[in-house]
Subunit: 244 residues, 6 copies
Amino acid sequence: MKLLVANANTTEAITELCAAAARGAAAAGTEIIPATPRFGPAVISTRAENIIAGHALLELLAEHAGRVDGVLLAVSHDTALEAARQMLPCPVVGMTEAACFAACLIGGRFGLMTFGSTETYRERIAQYGLASRLAGLASVAATPQEAVRDPDGVARKLRAGLGALVAQGADAVVLGGAALAGMAPKLQPDSLVPLLDGMACGVGLLEMLVRLQLPKPQGGSYAAAQGREVGGVAPALAALLRGG
Amino acid sequence: MKLLVANANTTEAITELCAAAARGAAAAGTEIIPATPRFGPAVISTRAENIIAGHALLELLAEHAGRVDGVLLAVSHDTALEAARQMLPCPVVGMTEAACFAACLIGGRFGLMTFGSTETYRERIAQYGLASRLAGLASVAATPQEAVRDPDGVARKLRAGLGALVAQGADAVVLGGAALAGMAPKLQPDSLVPLLDGMACGVGLLEMLVRLQLPKPQGGSYAAAQGREVGGVAPALAALLRGG
Amino acid sequence: MKLLVANANTTEAITELCAAAARGAAAAGTEIIPATPRFGPAVISTRAENIIAGHALLELLAEHAGRVDGVLLAVSHDTALEAARQMLPCPVVGMTEAACFAACLIGGRFGLMTFGSTETYRERIAQYGLASRLAGLASVAATPQEAVRDPDGVARKLRAGLGALVAQGADAVVLGGAALAGMAPKLQPDSLVPLLDGMACGVGLLEMLVRLQLPKPQGGSYAAAQGREVGGVAPALAALLRGG
Amino acid sequence: MKLLVANANTTEAITELCAAAARGAAAAGTEIIPATPRFGPAVISTRAENIIAGHALLELLAEHAGRVDGVLLAVSHDTALEAARQMLPCPVVGMTEAACFAACLIGGRFGLMTFGSTETYRERIAQYGLASRLAGLASVAATPQEAVRDPDGVARKLRAGLGALVAQGADAVVLGGAALAGMAPKLQPDSLVPLLDGMACGVGLLEMLVRLQLPKPQGGSYAAAQGREVGGVAPALAALLRGG
Amino acid sequence: MKLLVANANTTEAITELCAAAARGAAAAGTEIIPATPRFGPAVISTRAENIIAGHALLELLAEHAGRVDGVLLAVSHDTALEAARQMLPCPVVGMTEAACFAACLIGGRFGLMTFGSTETYRERIAQYGLASRLAGLASVAATPQEAVRDPDGVARKLRAGLGALVAQGADAVVLGGAALAGMAPKLQPDSLVPLLDGMACGVGLLEMLVRLQLPKPQGGSYAAAQGREVGGVAPALAALLRGG
Amino acid sequence: MKLLVANANTTEAITELCAAAARGAAAAGTEIIPATPRFGPAVISTRAENIIAGHALLELLAEHAGRVDGVLLAVSHDTALEAARQMLPCPVVGMTEAACFAACLIGGRFGLMTFGSTETYRERIAQYGLASRLAGLASVAATPQEAVRDPDGVARKLRAGLGALVAQGADAVVLGGAALAGMAPKLQPDSLVPLLDGMACGVGLLEMLVRLQLPKPQGGSYAAAQGREVGGVAPALAALLRGG
């Protein structure tokens, strides 16, 4: 099966990092197709960038619609996840969503570590309905760029936060941040509880969903768009929303 | 004070309808400035359109940033509300957000009536933290276009749903839908409980926030963007996110 | 419009402090009418005092019913708020309620600082349905009386708590305590996030509600009392509940 | 032990009905002392009456403070419960609170049947933290006065609502309304699930609490009032709040 | 009345400790019958032991079914509580459940102290619907065995944790652990808030329930088993589930 | 990889039905090993049977511990799921848990259809933290035995309930009941939204978890049992809990 690993920011290095993590986790026969948007933020850090990146991502996805079997969002904010899920004919999973749901399958409550502000992750997890399964959030004093440039240094900083999350009751810890893709194995030996990589979890969940061969909803709030008129956007995106 | 009434779809008739409702509710001395995005959906109906409209809206807002005292989103999905709030130096309020919070000030639980699927409204209200104050949601079998074209016919359909919401415990009912802006007075005589118009509520809330002269947060998750690099977007938007 | 600023304790100095804060925030043309109950606690500190003060407040409000356009409760416990809201023909807002809802319009989660025990504020915020938007509560080691007597000393104590609330994720901080009315500007320069004054917020919300000219509910749980027989209370209060 | 059965409205017939139900449920050696307030509503139906009744009740309780071993509120709104609990040196239980907690001990979710609006009961149950254990609320088209005057007629009306609550998942049903005290045995034969009488449950819970001989809290938000100055209230009430 | 005090682990010393605490709290005329399972864990510490103990407990209860008036589970995990409640013709209460519900009757939020991991208690309390009334959980570095062997030493360790729970807002503290049965009086002098013993609370709640003489549910999810075929279990248990 | 499909009741026909559904969903190279407990209920219908079945299941799992790569519980109550997860060195997933989490990946809220009482499913879903994502529960008037004997007749009954769940907002529907394993394809053509089979979902989730090669937690509440003494149980189970 063909899985699109779609970044929502324009930093190709992050796309490559995520695609590599996805390939490492994919089953034999699963092809990973990396993709990076044409426009938008270099790195998503504010809410506005996340919206712009959402448009860029939808444009990117529309180009691939019908040519891939599933989409994994390689962006830790799970940018435009619900929109992509409704719009596309194939399954879509977000990398943080994937890791959070996987965490629920191996313990009681989980923690999440990320860069910078934790509030948007708290909000995302609440939107997933998992607030009662969140033991805590920890922020590491580093940037996504630093994680790509100096993974060992960032790993050292992450280790310090793991103990605090376990003490708060975390039975597993999600590494939240596309720039941390593939870092779980480095950190795992120092952690009492399993560490979850969004790309690895996401590939597994997508493979499951693709194999389930579920039909696209014909009703409810995730039924595909039909006859929508959207102007000034890329032709593929406009066409997909117009349907027919 | 100058308040921008910003639609997130490209239908000027909706912008005008909302601006008229806003003007009708504004204090003397409040100037209402209507604005419509350059691109995006004619009417927002799916989640993908809402994301695209979010980008279009942020572009529109960036052009007005620093030149208005507050922004009222004239779109019932409160599209990109949190993003606009963090990005802009002035207060931003969403029309449905406004009506829901106003409803909380006049009774216990409230209901919401809208066109089509109610699920995205349920999700929005949960994001506002108000799930426990929602008595019910009702959908009216009409379209936003129909409300503009045949307001009396749509008003008849809306009346039928009001009683059901009161029976579910609603002490007030929010009219959810930009195309319903200004319709509350028509329906009010037939309702046991107050009906809330998002534009009227939003203007009032914005006037309050503007007069409070609160500083822009310097910390927390709503601090303004600084030094963000966003490519391929309108210059005003890129400049605002770059800051400085 | 005429707004009653109604204290629920018998300390006139607090009433005056609150009325001054309300006047400072009111629109041109808004008249602020201060009022203090005839009986009850000097300062509300326990739950029993809050109930007694509620009766005293309702008596006070009944005297003004029909002669004011709105009521702002100048008591941080929002004493008897729901009762007053149902009983009166005009809008009623509580000062802490006002600040909490305003806080929701400018950020994600908010904090609250007050004197003494924070538990009753936690309960109030949960009753408003806003538990998920509360980042934390902080208590300052001072008394309301001290705030009136030595505002600068109390301001110093409050500053220390602000940082802790921001660290817990607060995007705004509510100053909870009628004796803190008007203190926000003093503290604002030392705070990374906006500080919210209940009186200023409450005046703005009331002005919005009054201008909306919403009808009194004829059904639901906030419909006005009719034909209620209440003995041994002030004639105006008995008459208002008897209705007709 | 001496248990005060304290009505919060001034209708002696209700007090007697409740006291009789309490006596029927009390252990040998438990003395039931009925008490009715000096002032306030004949029957509590609106939120304002509930606040006034709260003051009247606290006055009544202050007269008995130190002379009874426990207090059972014979009012289905559990009027001023938390205030009485903090103020008095002995345990205090509300009749609806008692029935709701008892219901939790015999099944999963429970229902509640009452007269008139169910919203204030929904709010009360949420305040008790039991929202997730509430299967549904049902309203019977009768008045408390009618229940005293024509218990058989009201029993017929109540039967009709029981099935609906069981269908909603109720494993037990609380009869909410002081005027329904003692009615459970009449209705029980027609109900698939146990019916709970607040007075019977409340007497049992109080007997437990009294026998536990727990100390009055010296800290936290339920520590007794000390040195509070409250003017214009009954001397016993003022003295109790002044303490010492 | 006859109350079975049923341990779910096989340590007789714990059964005796709990039975003694129950006897100390029981009304005159209440007979306490201790019982210990035939098989299962010596002490329950993991989730698997809790399930096995649940089976052992149900077997034990089936032997006593119809010969006791109520059952108090003398195991702090409230092992198989809901199963026992549905299966037996008489009321069943868990010791931690009892203490938590009692705590709700004397204050706002409560804390819980126990040995080892607090997560399973957090989960239990959430299942009871009381998550919003939980102020905090504290773990004491000791084992149940140590509490039986060296109660004074364990009491010293417990004291240290009490202050932290009060600081988190606890108005009462539940001692969670069958091995702590009877220890509350020792610790009470050092605590600002009441300490709750599950056995004492449970006896009181059971006495209330037994005296209420509620019928066994004939419908809903707690109706007794009828005609169930269960193989390979003790004859009394198989017979009880077969019914008839 | 070897996946154990473990029934928790003793009806081999159900085990076979579930194993067949699992095989149909498994990746090439995944071996499905069916297993049925030695003792316990023929079909689980009451809470007591669920506990007994839990013990029987743990005994069964202990025999296979270390010889399989993952365990899928072929019982719709997800019997003893958390206990098995903590006890075993390999991943464990419940069939209803699997379908509910999968449902969250394809839409907003989901519904669940099952036989008999829906309350225990509601409780299970709340334990998973997914209460806010549950749109509704529907019960079909049939028995598990009937589903095995007359799948077409039961399918007809199930169809009727699907529309109601979609009307309540379900974007997907979980078929809850081991006896419904494999029935989704039959019903799918009649459903507007995707239908989820717990066995198919569970196999996919397990394959993901096994491939993630997560370590067993060394801390937190899911760390494996060590040195536990459990008497009177099967030797393999006792040995596994003793560890070492």
